[in-house]
């Protein structure tokens, strides 16, 4: 069942390995994620749309997949690169092997390559366009294809993954583990409208957990339509691609500022930044992992965070009298969070909903709840 596979990068570097998953060809920006667990969540995170994901941990697939750990209805990664992909599944919750999970959705996998060499290459040269083929195509041809695909910069991928129709969400985190730690958060009764740029389910679950009925709306929804729903709060979601082309949604969201409490995550922060006059730029290879230290400048405490973004907000582009930086990344000092000095608005670049990743920052959902309470 084993077949050859090739990953070709736009700069001509090729990796020959063994294929798994679907017999297919996939293209996209090649990025790496350094998380040790949570591959199913990564596969299904819509923010990975347009990307071939390299997982740095060498064993992928060990614990299979299960219905509770998906972050959307399907995998969004274009292709997967892993050092070794497990043919065996071992976990009491598993209902489908990771291989079937990806193969049945047409996603190719390349394994048995020196993934660390690939990661170092990306670290040195930045995220690169690439083509992953499990169809025995010649390398030169694949390199040429890699050069022909559009660059990530300037691409509006979010509109492509946003929901076509609004829908409501009320389900909290699933009780799928027999053991748990008690959570002492108060619940309220709020209506939150969530702009969907590729929203992860665990954000919805966390919002539900603070007592919110969520209405998820397409990212092109006009501000008056949002206001007509009389929300207690507005949420601006994560999503794939470059935030720069999202002028339209940013302008609409701008109209909501000051009228309703707003919370944004990841791409949401970038859109809110733009709405408030800020600029974004592309990071060399982005932040993708579960171990990024973020300093909360308000509490002076460090949070270990889950991150997945290729673009960042330029702090110098924000008006300091209007905006207060609340979080910075301790690795590279990039912006990780800000709030408005006068309006009920805050947002973070990282993923407090985790999935995958540590739960250090879940307090932000509670902060959002309190912000909505205060606005009443």
């Amino acid at each position: 069942m084993s077949f050859p596979a090739t990953l070709a990068l736009e700069d001509g570097r090729c990796f020959q390995g063994r294929g798994a998953g679907a017999r297919a060809e996939a293209s996209g920006e090649v990025v790496f994620n350094t998380g040790l667990t949570g591959y199913q969540e990564i596969f299904t995170d819509p923010s990975y749309s347009g990307q071939i994901v390299v997982l740095t941990y060498p064993h992928i697939g060990n614990y299979g997949t299960n219905p509770d750990d998906s972050e959307s209805e399907r995998p969004y990664i274009e292709g997967l690169v892993a050092r070794e992909f497990s043919a065996v599944t071992s976990n009491w919750r598993s209902s489908q092997s990771a291989h079937e999970f990806l193969a049945s959705r047409g996603i190719p996998i390349i394994t048995e390559i020196d993934t660390r060499a690939l990661v170092r290459h990306i670290r040195k040269h930045g995220a690169l366009r690439g083509v992953l083929s499990t169809q025995e195509t010649a390398s030169e041809e694949l390199v040429a294809k890699a050069r022909s695909i559009p660059s990530m910069a300037g691409q509006d991928l979010a509109s492509g993954v946003s929901t076509a129709d609004r829908y409501s969400w009320t389900a909290g985190p699933p009780h799928c583990l027999p053991s748990s730690l008690p959570k002492a958060t108060a619940r309220g009764d709020y209506h939150v409208v969530a702009y969907d740029f590729g929203i992860k389910r665990n954000i919805l679950r966390q919002l539900a957990d603070i007592g919110a009925r969520v209405t998820v709306v397409p990212c092109g929804t006009l501000s008056e339509d949002v206001l007509s729903m009389s929300p207690d709060g507005v949420f601006v979601s994560n999503g794939p691609g470059d935030p720069e082309p999202l002028h339209g949604p940013a302008a609409e969201i701008r109209k909501l500022v000051g009228r309703v409490p707003i919370f944004g995550i990841c791409l949401g922060l970038q859109v809110l930044g733009q709405a408030l006059g800020g600029k974004t730029y592309k990071l060399k290879f982005g932040h993708h992992g579960c171990n990024h230290p973020v300093l909360n400048l308000i509490t002076n405490k460090v949070e270990i965070t889950s991150q997945n973004h290729g673009f960042a907000l330029d702090p110098d582009s924000l008006a300091p009298d209007a905006i207060e930086l609340t979080h910075i990344n301790l690795n590279d000092r990039t912006v990780e969070g800000f709030r408005s000095r006068k309006d009920p608005l805050f947002c973070v670049q990282y993923h407090p909903e985790a999935a995958p990743g540590p739960h250090d920052s879940q307090y932000l959902f509670e902060d959002f709840r309190q912000l909505m309470d205060a606005a009443h």
Binding site: S90, R93, D114, R123, P178, S179, S180, N291, N300, N331
Partner: protein, 1072 residues
């Protein structure tokens, strides 16, 4: 948060001698702590009784005390040094217990010393199982159902309530000593009684069994600002039921979803906060029911541990170093990550490889004990391997073990498969492979072992691969197949044997095809940031990151896993070699695979290769580095066995030529050399057959010492008084001899043994020390207490010993260190053996004399002369008396005869420094865990040859106010000399007998010298009982004499303490 300015001087308590459950990892953590605190500008006072540690090097602390870790001595040190704080969390359980004892005795309050790291309340909450259970229940974490019992009946009641099996865990014992599983009420009765006796508080926790559940560990750190991070998760390959120190473990966890992992992370942090560990590293253990996912918390250690050393090496995140900095108030985000330099320590390491730890057991050293693994730790050491995948890493780890057996060469019995798989056994992994090859399914294996199917499938894939490869040959194999084999972790040697080729042929073929090892870096971040630290491991992948420099460089081969006879002493020597090379301007490159050690700290050498010490791995590194020199004489036997093959591959070995090392090991050639030099040795011969051995023994005359050639630590040695012993030895010993003959020597009964360490630059010889053994010849030198300077040897004999040593060193062209063992028998000096390499006693001699022998040896090996160090000839002086005493693991191996013999069985050593021999001996005994009594009763039983000396001894005991019990013969001699004593019956004579005295603790000291060929049954039982009751027991008259002197010294003086810095200060030594 700035570091604390209200503290200037900090005391650190080490972990004492190496014992099972507490090994070099605490030298690593203590050394890191000393360095970290010094870097932050604090003065440090270090106390440890173990001279073989790097942490007790006088350069590492302002004041270094090699003293007993008792409240009495620690109090004296505190009174003298007046530290403001005590860091209790880097010295293992011993350091923690000693710190708690100081706090409880009011000493810390008396001198205003603050406990930093973990506070007293946190330590108690974590250590007291009931308090821990209550605390965990409060935060919503489940623990196994349990009851703390202090009598047997209560325990039996609880067991029948929850059902057998139940787990027994005595409170406050080390490495789970006295713990076990009881499957029925009878077993429960005996195990519980023993557990209650061993627990210092007479409590045992009886617990519901979670046998077969998956076991995990989390390494956690927290700073004063409540920033908390996970350094590493570890999954046990062996299911619950095997002590984690005896389990194969894997980092990171392999079979947890993110949801499960994060729950465990949350639980770990909640536990740390609840217990109240303010700063530092802790270890939290969990288990998960594989069927339902139910998670229980098992225990937490509020200190750095064996697992944290492993986690540090596995991730590149130095837990102990950071813990020390956090203890003085720094925050995680204020400390830079050494490896990436640009990012802070407040992150969670990510790794892009797999780490496997495999324990090393030595049950063969303890005949009479069953080689079964359970909840009490039995392993002596461990190895770690880093590889691209689990398979690759596991196979590397297994090769690192140096079992002396070639994988695949063992014979397994199909009948034994179920037994070996069901009952955890040191050989279980091999039996799993055998069973898979025999056609057992993965499901069968999982059911019998409780091991996760993912792990078993990994084993199966390699077993299948080997079977496929066996169908081909070196000529037929394809490059793709060979690549696959190498990436799966198969060694050249293994492939060579599959194909009946030489290792070199396989190596050459793969290199021809470009299949070569490349080196990756351990960088804490899965390559997300650039690494500035060359901490490397080999893989068979595409790209190498070694980036060798073009500096002058010398490579040091380490000593591999700790084992009896080859432990921390050699790691000390290797580290010193590395320090010396750096001082001399060379780049130092360390190769080792023992995660516990200082040598595998990326801070120790310029470059670190965490690799198995096999020919293939070492050659791979040489290919990459092209070192100017390779040092083999510091790592014990491990590198020596590689010396000649490495030389044959053209690797430049510096120092004493491997041919000389070989000559010293070669009986015939060495015998001829001695004849030439006119130096006597005991009559001896060699044999390769049973008949030959018997014939040789007969010619030499009994008793004879029978042993294999080329071993360290006296492995498989016996003293034979008759042919039957020789015969049975030849039947059983062949496994260990591996093409090398058996050696048979005349055994010099009642001789005095002497150990000498010397330095030679090719022209001159300086003797580091002439160590007089306190036990007689026949007791392995590693198991004998010894003293510097020699106490009873006449000057002319010392001169003879010095003269022989000089001539031998020169004759063997020694460049560096040489160790010679002598026996003095009826005034005549015999050479027993010569080892042209660093010996076990190098650190002890270095600390006693203040002269760093290993460092100087490296200077000599790189072309310096003794004169360059201000040394010319003669014996180095000592200003005080220093006694080294061994520590034994007998309490871990029930049913074993603790009588000392030619087979080394001690795991560690301590040193006592005193103004007199008696004081030094008493301190050493105390440090070794034997409190010499100040008075009370002594039991004397002396063999007939030694009656006169026995009487002298009796008189001294009587003078010290002891009441004397003696067996009939000894009692008669004592009474004839006018001494009062009470007669006790021997065991065989009836009751009440000596055993009753011991069991009721009516004697405080036992002097019982063996009488000839065989230990009689009752003598064996006396010594076993003495060990169980922790009554000091002397089995030689020399030791007994030292004990008498020690007791006398203690009676006459206060506990004197002296730092090494003061001991070796230039000019007049300070008074104690």
């Amino acid at each position: 948060m700035p570091k604390r300015a209200d503290i200037e001087k900090i005391m650190i308590v080490g972990s004492g001698p190496i014992v099972i459950g507490q090994a070099c990892e605490f030298d690593y953590s203590g050394t890191q702590a000393c360095k970290a605190l010094r870097d932050e500008g604090y003065q440090t006072v270090l106390v440890n009784s173990n001279p073989a540690t790097i942490m007790t090097d006088p350069e590492l602390a302002e004041k270094t005390y090699i003293e007993p870790l008792t409240t009495e001595y620690l109090r004296s040190i505190i009174a003298r040094e007046r530290p403001q704080a005590l860091l209790s969390t880097v010295g293992g359980q011993t350091g923690l217990n000693a710190s708690v004892a100081l706090a409880e005795a009011g000493v810390l309050d008396e001198f205003g010393v603050e406990l930093i790291g973990a506070n007293l309340e946190a330590i108690r909450k974590a250590e007291d199982r009931q308090a821990f259970k209550a605390a965990m229940t409060e935060i919503g974490l489940e623990v196994p159902r349990s009851r703390l019992v202090s009598d047997v009946e209560d325990g039996l009641d609880f067991a029948s309530e929850v059902g057998y099996p139940v787990v027994l865990r005595p409170s406050f014992t080390l490495g789970g000593t006295g713990g076990g599983l009881a499957y029925n009420s009878e077993e429960m009765h005996s195990l519980l009684r023993r557990g209650l006796e061993l627990s210092p508080v007479h409590e045992v926790l009886v617990e519901e069994s979670v046998l077969g559940w998956k076991e995990y560990e989390m390494e956690v750190m927290r700073d004063l600002a409540d920033n908390a991070i996970i350094i590493c998760s570890i999954e046990n390959f062996d299911a619950m039921g095997v002590h984690t120190g005896d389990s194969i473990t894997v980092a990171p966890a392999q079979t947890l979803t993110d949801r499960e992992y994060q729950l465990m992370r949350d639980a770990s942090l909640a536990c740390l906060r609840k217990i109240g560990v303010d700063t530092g590293g802790s270890n939290v253990q969990f288990c998960i029911d594989p069927e339902t996912g139910r998670m229980l918390i098992i225990e937490m250690n509020p200190r750095v541990s064996r697992s944290s050393a492993l986690a540090s090496k596995a991730t590149g995140f130095p837990i102990a170093k950071i813990a020390a900095k956090l203890a003085v108030g720094l925050r995680l985000d204020e400390i830079p990550n050494d490896i990436t330099q640009k990012t802070p320590a407040s992150f969670e390491p990510s790794i892009d490889y797999v780490v496997v730890k495999v324990p090393k057991w030595q049950f063969e050293k303890f005949p009479g004990t069953e080689p079964v693994l359970g909840v009490q730790m039995k392993s002596i050491g461990e190895v770690m391997a880093i590889g691209s995948t689990f398979k690759h890493s596991l196979w590397k780890a297994i090769r690192s073990l140096e079992t002396g057996r070639k994988s695949g060469s063992d014979v397994y019995s199909a009948d034994l498969v179920p037994k070996r798989l069901i009952t955890p056994h040191p050989d279980r992994l091999n039996y799993i492979r055998f069973a898979l090859a025999e056609g057992y399914s993965v499901e069968d294996i999982c059911e019998m072992t409780g091991i996760d199917p993912w792990f078993v499938s990994q084993l199966k894939s390699v077993v299948d691969l080997q079977q496929d490869l066996a169908q081909t040959s070196l000529d037929e194999v394809s490059p793709a197949q060979l690549t696959m084999a190498k990436r799966s972790g198969l060694s050249d040697n293994r492939l060579a044997r599959l194909w009946d080729e030489t290792e070199t042929a396989v190596r050459n073929r793969r290199k021809e095809w470009g299949i070569r090892a490349v080196f990756k870096r351990v960088d804490t971040c899965a390559a997300e940031f650039e690494s500035f630290t060359p901490y490397l491991y080999s893989v068979y992948e595409e790209e190498s990151e070694a980036e060798p420099t073009d500096r002058r460089k010398i490579m040091i081969l380490g000593s591999g896993p700790n084992r009896i006879g080859q432990g921390i002493e050699f790691d000390y020597c290797c580290c010193h070699a590395s320090f010396a090379l750096q001082e001399l301007g060379y780049e130092s490159i360390m190769v080792n695979c023992n995660p516990e050690t200082v040598s595998t700290d990326y801070d120790t050498s310029d470059r670190l290769y965490f690799e198995p010490l096999t020919l293939e791995n070492v050659l791979n590194i040489c290919d990459e580095e092209k070192p100017d020199g390779l040092i083999v004489q510091f790592g014990g036997q491990t590198p020596l066995t590689l010396a000649l093959p490495l030389k044959a591959h053209g690797i430049p070995i510096i120092g004493t030529d491997p041919e000389s090392i070989d000559l010293a090991e070669d009986r015939d050639r060495f015998g001829r050399l001695l004849v030439e030099l006119d130096i006597p040795q005991p009559a001896g011969s060699t044999a390769t057959t049973q008949e030959g051995a018997l014939e040789a023994a007969k010619q030499i005359g009994y008793p004879v010492l029978v042993r294999p050639s080329y071993v360290l630590g006296g492995r498989a040695m016996v003293i034979a008084y008759d042919g039957a012993t020789v015969e049975s030895y030849m039947r059983d010993a062949v496994v260990y001899s591996q093409d090398r003959p058996i050696l048979i020597d005349r055994f010099l009964e009642n001789a005095l043994e002497v150990d000498v360490d010397a330095l030679c630059d090719g022209d001159e010889v300086v003797i580091g020390g002439i160590m007089e053994h306190i036990e007689e010849a026949g007791v392995h030198s590693g198991d004998s207490s010894c003293v510097l300077p020699a106490q009873t040897i006449p000057d002319n004999t010392l001169e003879t010993i010095a003269d022989y040593t000089v001539r031998l060193a020169k004759a063997l062209n020694v460049i560096g260190l040489v160790n010679v063992q002598y026996a003095v028998h009826e005034g005549r000096v015999y050479v027993i053996e010569v080892n042209p390499r660093a010996s076990r006693t190098v650190p002890y001699v270095s600390k006693a004399t203040g002269v760093p022998l290993a460092k100087i040896a490296v200077g000599l090996m790189t072309g310096r002369k003794l004169a360059d160090y201000g040394l010319s000839q003669g014996v180095l002086p000592t200003t005080k008396v220093c006694v080294k005493s061994p520590v034994f693991p007998f309490n871990k191996f029930s049913g074993v005869d603790p009588l000392l013999g030619p087979e080394m069985r001690s795991t560690g050593e301590v040193m006592g420094i005193g103004a007199s021999f008696g004081e030094a001996f008493a301190k050493a005994q105390l440090s070794a865990g034997h409190m010499l009594p100040d008075g009370g009763s002594v039991f004397l039983s002396v063999n007939s040859r030694q009656k006169a000396e026995g009487v002298e001894m009796g008189r001294k005991f009587a003078d010290l106010g002891f009441q004397i019990y003696a067996t009939r013969g000894t009692a008669k001699a004592l009474r004839n000399a006018g001494l009062r004593c009470r007669t006790v019956m021997k065991v065989a004579e009836g009751r009440p007998n000596v055993l009753d005295l011991i069991t009721d603790r009516r004697v405080d000291l036992i002097v019982n010298t063996p009488s000839g060929a065989h230990a009689f049954e009752d003598e064996k039982r006396i010594r076993s009982a003495a060990i169980q009751q922790a009554i000091p027991s002397m089995t030689t008259l020399n030791a007994a004499k030292a004990a008498v002197n020690g007791i006398a010294a203690r009676k006459h003086g206060q506990p004197g303490v002296l730092s090494l810095q003061d001991l070796h200060a230039k000019g007049e030594p300070l008074p104690a």
